[in-house]
Symmetry: D2
Subunit: 100 residues, 4 copies
């Protein structure tokens, strides 16, 4: 199980605001059978690595469908094979260390 | 006002788990006079760009103080000069588009 | 045509040096039918986005085959649909502006 | 000694092409007393971490001076304290493993 942090940046848009493109991404994610979380800088997805990259590829296409000519997409994968990692686990694990 | 997304990766640690290093980072952030938020893949800080980079430089030093010999730190800055951006704003702006 | 910048970080390795894992990645890339370039911080691949992500997924598996338990992989995709982009183009385009 | 990989993305530009902004960055880097290298996806700088972050902060300002309202800047720092790392070292070290 892995986490994938995704940021999709449409370039050459008329205005600096890109919230509507991010809303498209969130709308599309609702159709996928995975857990995900929107943060202020990225979306974090949880799943198997092949599935996550397939979804990332689909989401990366969305701004092009709205006429954008260039998209920069940043992905960070955190993949552990010694234990299952789910959304919320790492935050909880750090918080319990802070309380100790 | 800018957001800075920070991920600090200590390398060559004996185990794959690095939660205690992230806890150090969170502990140090409490001393700083800024808003921040821990996500599962990063910490998001809010402030002026010079202040944020100075804090990032301090936090990057923490694993070395524990004996780590190599640290990879990823930073993404999102800096707007046409409007103030705060933690929570972008998530709220996307959510209101989804409801519309 | 897109460029994909790839950095594979094995975590929990005994030593901070990871050159042998990067050598595995370069060795595996020789088998693929694409153009690529090794830099000091990443490998840049050129191709169609689906093909590039499939190769990135394969390369991400390599450190696990050597016993590593956690791998952090960073990907940045730069994808233009208004013109073909190849390795070397962007550097050349900036250099010709500097000479002008 | 550390390497810093820098990518500056101006947002809300009229066209998808940003080569002139990158040329500004390269022009400004000539004034700095450090080694650097332009790749197709980023610029890699070599130096002490504090110096590198100060330069990154300066370069991040450049697109704003041309009227851009939002800049996304990605930084990856690779910092070793067990040995000196210079531009070219990691590529050479991987290449010598490939020949072995």
């Amino acid at each position: 199980m892995a986490l994938l942090q995704l940021t999709i940046i449409p370039m050459g848009t008329a205005t600096p605001s890109v919230a509507d493109y991010i809303a498209d991404v969130q709308q599309a994610l609702k159709q996928e059978n995975i857990k995900y979380q929107l943060t202020d800088m990225a979306t974090v997805l949880e799943g198997e690595i092949t599935q996550l990259l397939a979804i990332a590829a689909k989401l990366h296409e969305l701004p092009f469908q709205k006429g954008v000519k260039r998209v920069v997409t940043q992905i960070v994968i955190d993949d552990r094979r010694d234990k299952k990692i789910s959304i919320g686990d790492k935050v909880n694990s750090v918080k319990s260390l802070l309380k100790a």
